[in-house]
């Protein structure tokens, strides 16, 4: 279990690192990034949100909402999760996705924990915040699938968002429990057999907020690179929704490569209190998991 805990921490930290590395170039094209930064390999801050170097955005903050809700309730309780999202929105966060805002607003006004199915809900805002649910359900695949969809539908009600959220959770389960790259690849190939849109081959560099583009960007670079830093640098320099592709790639690569591969110079840029809370919550999620409880 020691190895699982180490990988769980580096998954959650990897998420934050990917978010903070990519956010300054969110919405930029690969060419614009090359013109402005050359090859982006440091925490530079700035961007359309005028961030401090190492500052995280909604990707990490919503993941923290989920982890804090699971921590406070000593387990997954959807209304507690929705309440934390609502509190976060009221606090005036640095950025909120349009679909996320619509969903939390619906919860605020109608009290419903899921919105109606909507064609416009195939964004990546639900899949980006999967780390806490993945860690808290380690050891139980069906529970992961159930809670992944529940948390997703507070803001995004779309088959592709559901599918991507469950798949990110499954890959995190496999990586945190030490499975091989080929086992992870086989899981994604199995998904593509059912949902061809998610196939890894034939990637054309689209890194938009559409969850299929997001996941293809992450998986393309994860399987072509041989290290945490190399993977994240490749993903964020693709541009587009760079903080969110960075966050998901960071979580996956963090889980797979483990804590020793997280660059110290990037970790130093994260706010110390944030880093400490992430590590505590990662441990706590694992403690609550069926795997740790021996169920």
């Amino acid at each position: 279990l020691g190895d699982v805990r180490r990988r769980a921490r580096s998954a959650f930290l990897g998420l934050a690192l990917g978010d903070a590395l990519g956010a300054p170039v969110e919405f930029m094209t690969a060419d614009e990034i090359r013109a402005q930064h050359g090859l982006l390999r440091e925490m530079v801050g700035g961007g359309w949100l005028r961030l401090r170097p190492g500052q995280v955005t909604d990707d990490t903050e919503m993941s923290l909402c989920l982890a804090r809700a699971i921590d406070a309730a000593s387990g997954f309780d959807l209304r507690t999760v929705a309440d934390r999202f609502a509190e976060w929105l009221r606090g005036g966060p640095v950025d909120v996705g349009n679909t996320v805002r619509r969903g939390i607003r619906r919860y605020l006004h109608e009290g419903t924990l899921a919105g109606p199915p909507a064609d416009g809900d195939a964004g990546n805002g639900a899949a980006m915040r999967m780390v806490p649910v993945a860690l808290a359900t380690l050891g139980n695949g069906p529970l992961l699938a159930q809670l992944a969809v529940q948390q997703a539908r507070v803001t995004h009600h779309h088959l592709l968002s559901d599918t991507a959220s469950v798949h990110v959770g499954l890959l995190l389960h496999l990586a945190v429990t030490g499975h091989s790259l080929s086992r992870l690849r086989a899981a994604s190939d199995a998904l593509a057999a059912v949902h061809p849109g998610f196939r890894i081959e034939g990637y054309r560099g689209l890194a938009t907020g559409y969850v299929v583009d997001t996941l293809r960007t992450v998986l393309h670079h994860f399987h072509r690179t041989r290290g945490f830093e190399e993977c994240l640098v490749a993903v964020v320099n693709q541009g587009g929704d760079a903080d969110t592709t960075g966050a998901i790639a960071g979580a996956l690569a963090g889980a797979y490569y483990g804590p020793e591969e997280l660059p110290a110079r990037w970790l130093r840029k994260l706010a110390p209190a944030l880093r400490a809370e992430i590590e505590r919550l990662a441990d706590r999620m694992v403690d609550l998991s069926p795997l740790a409880r021996g169920e």
Partner: protein, 112 residues
Amino acid sequence: MKKVEAIIKPFKLDEVKQALSEVGIAGLTATEVKGFGRQKGHTELYRGAEYVVDFLPKVKVEVVVADALVAKVVEVIERAAKTGRIGDGKIFVVPVDEVIRIRTGERGDSAL
């Protein structure tokens, strides 16, 4: 979808904006306008002579929202913009047939 148009006192803009963000509304457009109403203008001194300015500066706030949110938005603006003195302003609710987000082409409620 409806457009909620509120004519408010200029110093109330921040309060209205804050109150709307508390209920999850972030997008709005504000315009500086001149108001003529029951609240008469005021006298100003200009180059030593007194003259009546018969209008008062106001701000027009426009917020387009889904139908389900109209009543809430009106209530929130009403509460935030009210001082109880003449000239607090008016809120108009106008029907909107279609909304388009220019960046992405999204239409209808998902463009809000």
